[in-house]
Symmetry: C2
Subunit: 160 residues, 2 copies
DNA sequence: CTACGAGTTCAAGCCGACTTGAGGTCAAGC
DNA sequence: GCTTGACCTCAAGTCGGCTTGAACTCGTAG
């Protein structure tokens, strides 16, 4: 298969041309050359874009993704980093699972106010949604979690 | 317990005062009144903030959260909506699980390039990371998924 | 040879969720 | 009565991941 122009890459991946240019600018993908002004892409870019999409779907930032993909454009990734990311995802999944349970429970819990329901409160605690020392049940701890948070972590502790 | 000023709410929840003002402006929380210029909050706001944190941790937008929390400030939420959100979370969890497996596998798969490994490709497919009709194995479908995407869904299909 | 359309560059805009900063107010303690 | 410092408002800034628009350049079909 010969080199493709940006439109074909876009068509085959569903990724808009503007995004492809943006990715190139960020160094996530590379064009093999130009014909006139036009970029030419090696078919291997399709794989790379699939991996990028995978990362994005996993909630990773573009910078993290480019750190995971090998610098030379091959797809050998750093094993340690991959495992770390998997662990991160694992924690996220556990948190989301707890939240899902909380929602399901809240949807059919007979308690007038969800917060009065021990099951719900437990789910909140598991969700690590923060320590909100609301009256009824004692204070609990929350370990720091991160979804897509940047600097600060509101929703997390700061014990007085 | 008497009404609290913004600093106390902040201290007890870990949510910065600026964020509390912002939430009030958006109608997510309400102050019960003022003493001079200063906002006063009913202790019930702590619960509400816990629920908001829960929603945020679940990846929901503030607008979605305020739609889930009752307009009158009580915490009765719309059951249908809650279930829908739980389902949404469920799909997200499944996707993330597939991605986690893909990462774990990639970390120790002997194949030189992950994309040549059927297990990895399968994980990508499950992840719904898009249809990237890379040569070796045939095209597959991806149903639209949404993490925190806004309008467009790059990474998803557009069969020619 | 020329016009066309698909590609290009670069700067600016957008969205959500906040944060920051300048300048103002006000209750309480000395 | 005055200072202090916590709180206030409002506008603007930030960050990531793109998109959009204006102005321009080419290869190719007619």
């Amino acid at each position: 298969m010969k080199d493709m122009d940006i439109a074909e890459v876009s068509r085959r991946t569903g990724v808009p041309a503007s995004t492809l240019r943006y990715y190139e600018e960020k160094g996530l993908i590379a064009s093999t050359g130009r014909r006139g002004l036009r970029r030419l892409f090696d078919p291997a870019v399709l794989e790379r874009l699939a991996l990028i999409a995978l990362g994005r779907a996993g909630g990773f930032a573009l910078d993290e993704i480019s750190a995971m993909l090998a610098p030379d454009g091959l797809d050998k990734m750093d094993r340690g980093r991959l495992d770390a990311k998997a662990d991160e995802l694992d924690r996220t999944i556990q948190r989301l699972t707890a939240i899902r349970e909380a929602l399901r429970h809240a949807a059919r819990c007979p308690a007038a106010r969800p917060m009065e329901c021990p099951t719900f409160r437990r789910a909140i605690r598991l969700a690590g949604a923060g320590r909100f020392d609301v009256a009824p049940i004692g204070p609990f701890k929350a370990e720091a979690v991160s979804v897509t948070r940047r600097k600060r972590e509101p929703g997390n502790v700061r014990l007085e």
